[in-house]
């Protein structure tokens, strides 16, 4: 069987298990839209708060969900998972991909809800847009704004993967012992988060001293470098987790 097919089966299984969390954000979005359609004009402005809450939920829920890895042990499904002809990279990769999908679906719900809210709450939206487009802005600034938004989005994805990988790492290491594995998982999670932060700071300092990075340089370049550093550390944690899962984990 091709690895892609096995990955897809695991990914679908993970998405199914994440359905409740996905539905929470979608349900909240729907609730905001229903209230938007039913409440009067001044009260509508209050809806910005639940909408803002959705942004937090969309970012936080995948991280909370990532701690479900331990449930594979609690429910004995780890027997099934570990007896499947797949390596740890496929198992954990499918879990990570599903969590990223959960995040992207949350962002989509927020985007669509926000757009509808803008259309309803700003009655003169078209004229406001026309006024905005009449403002002369340097095209290079536009390009910087767009790149900044894209980078911010990519950084949010990388940051999610970074925290989720640390969560996976702590759970896999925590399960190497039979007793106090929950306590150990929590301790390792906090310690790894701290250590990875130190590593990132170290890389920054190293790059600055080697004059690869100039702190006075364009913010976009700094943002891009930061994203890259986080991505490298996240990948390193993922690889380490896979190695431990493949070589040390047993029942």
């Amino acid at each position: 069987m091709p690895t892609s097919q096995k990955f897809w089966a695991l990914y679908r299984k993970e998405l199914h298990e994440l359905r409740p969390e996905i539905l929470i954000v979608a349900g909240l979005g729907l609730l905001v839209l229903i209230l938007l359609a039913t409440v009067g004009s001044p009260a509508r402005n209050v809806l910005v708060f639940p909408w803002g809450m959705m942004i937090g939920l969309a970012g936080l829920l995948p991280i909370v969900s990532s701690f479900r890895l331990g449930r594979e042990w609690n429910t004995n499904s780890i027997y099934l998972l570990m007896s499947l002809p797949v390596k740890g990279g496929t198992v954990l990769g499918a879990k990570l991909a599903a969590l990223i999908t959960q995040y992207l679906l949350g962002i989509l719900v927020i985007g669509v809800t926000g757009l509808i809210m803008a259309v309803v709450m700003i009655p003169d939206l078209s004229s406001a847009w026309q006024a905005l487009s009449r403002i002369t802005i340097d095209p290079s600034l536009w390009s910087q704004i767009i790149w900044g938004l894209v980078l911010a989005f990519v950084f949010s994805l990388v940051l999610l993967a970074y925290v989720v990988n640390i969560s996976f790492f702590s759970q896999v290491v925590g399960r190497l012992v039979k007793r106090y594995s929950g306590l150990l998982t929590a301790g390792i999670f906090l310690f790894t988060l701290w250590l990875a932060g130190k590593v990132i700071l170290g890389i920054w300092e190293g790059l600055s001293q080697a004059q690869f990075i100039d702190v006075t340089t364009a913010p976009l370049q700094l943002m891009g470098t930061n994203t890259l550093i986080f991505a490298v550390v996240a990948a390193a944690v993922f690889i380490l987790t896979v190695l431990i899962y493949d070589r040390r984990t047993e029942l």
């Binding site: 429910t75 004995n76 099934l80």
Partner: protein
């Protein structure tokens, strides 16, 4: 062939297997017998790669069990399937991983075991769950089939169905089945060879029929005698 060479495995201060040497020739049904804590489940978990030996080596067809997972089907004692799945979803899931999945056999066994694909695994009885687990491993043409206490806590009728399924689908010479159980009476006539384990050591092993003829007693009585003498 599965070989255990000087295999030891400890869990903390408990020795599950202690320098065990044994081999399981291809194409036969083996009974792995012994009381609770004898090391039966550990033996199976080592054979499928869910545990690693502290000392010694386990080989499946000359390779590490981890490199042979495609050829092995494992039915653990615990409920290991995702409880939110229906039987259809569980079968779809398993089908995605194994090229030896036999759809025709799956359909036949569904009818034979009186199971329905719509059954949700969390909402069925223990006996039905045991049959679902068996269905999912028996629907494959896996060269190695490991069954860990497949009859534990199951009613008499369901036990009979499980045993009949194993007899019906066994491919002598092609498939190796290892059944770990302390319900010896139930599988007495099913096994070709037996291994009696106690306190992590092999007390006796050999051809089931030869042992019965030599000693003039059933496998259950042989086990009682072996363990009585050992203790």
């Amino acid at each position: 062939m599965i070989e255990f060479k000087e295999v030891s495995k400890c869990f903390g201060s408990v020795t599950a297997l202690d320098g065990v040497n044994m081999s399981f020739a291809a194409g036969k049904i083996f009974g792995l017998f012994g009381p609770n804590g004898a090391g039966k489940s550990t033996t199976l978990k080592l054979a499928i790669g869910l545990n690693r030996p502290d000392r010694g080596v386990v080989l499946v067809d000359g390779k590490s069990p981890l490199d042979n997972k495609q050829n092995m089907a494992f039915l653990p004692e615990v409920d290991h399937l995702y409880s939110w799945m229906t039987l259809r979803q569980a079968a779809d899931f398993m089908r995605s991983f194994y090229s030896d999945w036999d759809e025709e056999k799956y359909r036949e066994l569904l009818v034979f075991l009186q199971l329905k694909e719509e059954m949700k695994l969390s909402r069925i009885s223990k006996g039905q769950r045991a049959k679902c687990k068996l269905l999912l491993v028996a629907s494959r043409q896996a060269p190695y089939l490991f069954l860990d206490e497949p009859l534990s806590g199951i009613d008499v009728l369901t036990r009979d169905e499980i045993i009949q399924t194993l007899i019906r689908d066994f491919r002598p010479g092609e498939q190796t089945i290892i059944i770990s159980t302390h319900e010896i009476r139930e599988v007495e006539n099913l096994v070709d060879e037996v291994v009696f384990l106690d306190n992590g050591q092999v007390r006796l092993y050999g051809d089931a029929e030869e042992l019965r003829t030599q000693r003039g007693m059933s496998l259950l009585d042989i086990m009682k005698e072996v363990f009585r003498n050992a203790n």
